[in-house]
């Protein structure tokens, strides 16, 4: 049994079909990457997985249970965590309180009190290297720091699946490697499955994943082991060929 | 039931509805353009009524002339309030603009109270009456309904047929996009809020044409509350929606009042108001974005 299965999911917005018959799976502790050009439906896919949108068609099975109709907060409690592309810290709260909220409402939710949540928050902040900024207001953080906060908040939820939206976008290569290593270490230690989405074919991210799905115009057009997909000529076509041939 | 009465009530409902329509249009316009719920809308309506009164009594100017004064004063007041206060609050938490416009509303009411006192005042601009079967409707109230309709038509033409109008609509839809296209967004906000204020004051003048009595500093509050129902009915932000909402509302009111009276309720007026607010609540639940919008 897979940890998460997305079966033939279709999501429409008015007349536009954002996702068309998308199927994918992820196993416990596995790392996958979802790549695709801008507007290919990656964000919608994540939103369908974590419950921001309910799909018109298809089912989402998580740990053997149909969660298609569950709301976002219920899925969070079951262990589906998300870090946003455009970071969304709670600006008026401190860095520590932001991460505490992750711990308080994640999978440990009912089992811990605020004091224990504080402890988890501090651990996570040390992990991502924001511990000495713990008492700053989140709004005061720089762009890259906010990404780290986003990651710490998601990890504090003690998730089984971590969905990372473009976590490395706009970062210098050295920083990218650092974050990728960080995620890899935590995920392996705590057996977290990771789904990471990227717009551009970033080597570091692709190498980190075990399997990769390529999304184009709402459909999965390629999938499989990283090496196979990377060697497939179709990939180049999606990123370069068709777009230019079709005329802009 | 007397068929003459039914026809009369229908006409009266249309006139009243047209007035309610113009009352609500300014509120809807400001929300549409700047995402601000203007809680000073009622106070501006009140100032419109006082404008009509003051110029009629002091300078023998008919309310028709006061309409021009109202739009000029409203435009300049709205633009100044925008640059002084609201500009700093665009995009802030909704709570802040609600409070700011509420503060403005108290301020305007207090100035009126200090200036005119709490007495109910009125004037008499009589153009005669029309007899519809056995029932009477004043010429001035019919004129009020027609003027309200004309203002809405002019406003719609302005928004859809002129360059500035399309800039206003552009900002309403996407301020960032409009900014990128080279539109001075602040100027457009100032203009939009000015027009909204002007419409509110003009509707105050129009109200005195329908009923030239009972002018007092708190005259605007019930109109503000009714405007909420109407704009939600027509879709917050829509001009034509607000006007059509007003017509529906006016027709409903002339039916509900006699109905509750017939049913021997203690206070038919209160029951009519009660029903209006219940309609508002139901609408907000089933169609929060208006009856006509998909």
């Amino acid at each position: 049994m897979h940890l998460l299965e997305v079966n033939n999911v279709t999501k429409r917005f008015g007349g536009i079909t954002a996702l068309k018959n998308v199927s994918l799976y992820i196993d416990s502790g596995e790392k996958i990457a979802i790549i695709g050009p801008n507007g290919s439906g990656k964000t919608t896919l994540f939103n369908v997985i974590n419950g921001v949108y309910i799909p018109e068609d298809g089912r989402i099975i998580y740990m053997g249970r149909d969660i298609t109709k569950l709301s976002a907060h219920e899925r969070a409690k079951l262990g589906i965590a998300r870090a946003f592309q455009i970071t969304r810290p709670f600006p008026g709260l401190s860095v520590r309180e932001n991460v505490m909220i992750g711990a308080l409402f994640g999978t440990l939710s009912e089992k811990i009190n605020t004091r224990e949540a504080l402890k988890i928050a501090d651990e996570m902040l040390k992990l991502v290297g924001l511990y000495n900024k713990r008492d700053e207001l989140a709004i005061k953080l720089t762009g890259p720091e906010r990404k780290l906060l986003e990651l710490a908040r998601a990890l504090a939820m003690k998730p089984k699946i971590l969905l990372l939206d473009e976590i490395v976008a706009g970062m210098p290569p050295a920083k990218v490697d650092e974050i990728v290593d960080l995620v890899k270490n935590v995920a392996e230690r705590e057996n977290i499955a990771v789904g990471v989405m990227v717009e551009h074919v970033i080597r570091a991210v692709i190498r980190f994943a075990e399997r990769v799905y390529v999304l184009d115009r709402g459909e999965i057009v390629l999938s499989g082991k990283v090496e196979d997909v990377m060697r497939n000529p179709k990939l180049r076509e999606i990123y370069l060929g068709t777009r230019f041939k079709g005329g802009v | 039931m007397d068929p003459g009465l039914i026809i009369f009530l229908f006409l009266q409902g249309l006139v009243l509805g047209s007035i309610y329509g113009i009352v609500a249009v300014g509120l809807s316009l400001i929300f549409g353009i700047a995402r601000i719920i203007n809680l000073s809308h009622g106070a501006l309506i009140m100032w419109g009524a006082y404008t009509a009164l003051t110029f009629f009594v002091g300078y023998n100017l008919s309310p028709l002339g006061s309409l021009f004064i109202a739009i000029v004063v409203g435009l300049s007041l709205g633009a100044s309030i925008f640059y002084l206060i609201l500009r700093r609050l665009i995009g802030a938490h909704e709570l802040t603009t609600l409070l700011a416009t509420f503060a403005l509303s108290i301020f305007l009411e207090e100035i009126a109270r200090l200036n005119y006192g709490l007495d109910y005042r009125g004037f008499s601009w009589s153009l005669g009456v029309v007899k519809i079967f056995d029932y009477r409707l004043t010429y001035s109230s019919i004129l009020a309904g027609v003027i309200a309709l004309s203002i809405v038509i002019i406003l719609t033409l302005f928004l859809y047929k002129t360059r500035i109008g399309s800039a206003l609509r552009g900002v309403a839809q996407d301020p960032v996009g409009a900014y990128i296209c080279g539109i001075d967004v602040n100027k457009i906000y100032a203009l939009g809020i000015g027009i909204g204020f002007g419409l509110a004051m003009m509707s105050g003048v129009i109200i005195t044409m329908y009923n030239p009595t009972g002018i007092n500093p708190y005259l605007g509050a019930p109109y503000l509350l009714k405007s909420f129902v109407i704009v939600v009915l027509g879709g917050l932000g829509s001009i034509i929606g607000a006007y059509v909402g007003g017509i529906i509302f006016g027709l409903a009111e002339v039916v509900l009042f006699p109905l509750y009276d017939y049913l021997h309720f203690h206070s038919p007026m209160s029951m009519t108001l009660f029903t209006e607010f219940v309609i508002l609540l139901i609408l907000l639940l089933i169609r929060p974005y208006g009856l006509f919008r998909r």
Binding site: N50, V52, S71, A72, H73, E74, A76, R88, F90, P91, G92, L93, S94, E97, I101, G102, L104, F105, G106, S109, N113, T114, D135, L137, M157 | F31, R35, I85, R88, H93, E94, L95, T96, L98, L99, A100, F102, A103, L104, I106, F107, E109, E110, I111, L114, L225, V229, V232, F265, H266, S267, M269, S270, F274, F277, L280, L281, L284, L285, P288
Partner: protein, 334 residues
Amino acid sequence: MIKGKIIDHMSLIIMIFSYIIIWMLKTSFPEYSQMLTLLLYYIAIAQAYNIFLGMTGYVDFGYVSYFGLGLYGMALGVSYASQNNLSSSEAIILGMILSVILAGSVAGVVGGIALRLRGAFFAIATIGLSQALRYLIEGAKIWGGAEGIIIAKDLRKLFGEEGFSYATITLPDTGIFILAVATGIIMYLIRISRLGYGLLAIKEDEDAAKVFGVNTTLYKFVAFIISAVLTSLVGSMWTLKVTAIYPPESFNIAFSVEFIVIVMLGGGGTVLGPLIGASIYSLSKYYLGVYLPGLQLTVFSIILLLIVLLFRQGIVGELRSFLYKHEIVRKIIR
């Protein structure tokens, strides 16, 4: 360790200590007694409203309805008790229970439905609700309709002629003091609990809060009910002071705004905000009435504008943000 714990709860201690000082001032200086009762009344309501408005950022312009239903609950309880020859304590308890039931059930219905709306739509719906209630009472002549309920006679019957000042001064004043302390403690406990963190997350970014596991619908609802019920209890005490209630005053939106201003002035979501906000508000209202009679509202409208423009987080909120770096300040100023 113990010292650390005391410091952690410093804001609660400061708050309760201040209330006790106000109470002591009130008993020592009878000439200021009514002004200080008014202050405690504002503190209690502001703290109750803070639990909803301050913590979630949702503006309820119809909030006065819950105060009004509290007024009606007590008035109905007292008049029923007097007609049925119940004892005076039974009358008060019955009144408080009725207040809680009325406010709790209306808040339950409104919360269950209107809390699905956001921002401006929620604000409009709440205005509609308070006005609908008022006009229903007047129009269908429920609970005395527009004539209201006058309970002075009933109180005389229940408490006796000599007990009248106890029933209309000592009892409600003490009740309001206890409620001020109780709402303060409840607000504090919420602020430091899971519920409090969830509510603050909703205020900051409701959609993100959902994704991070906060059951936003439930949390807003719980805060709304607690807030409404506490306010209704303050209303039930207030009935005993005024002894006559009428629909227009009981559901007057201007009162909602008064409460909003106090919460905002002090700082929404802060524990000490209502104390500071209510103190500044009631003192300036009192002295403006003395020195600039007739101009209070004009001055207030200008003050309100200044708060909105310059102190968006309120006095306590701005101070806390400004001094956030210092750990002691963070713990004391909450």
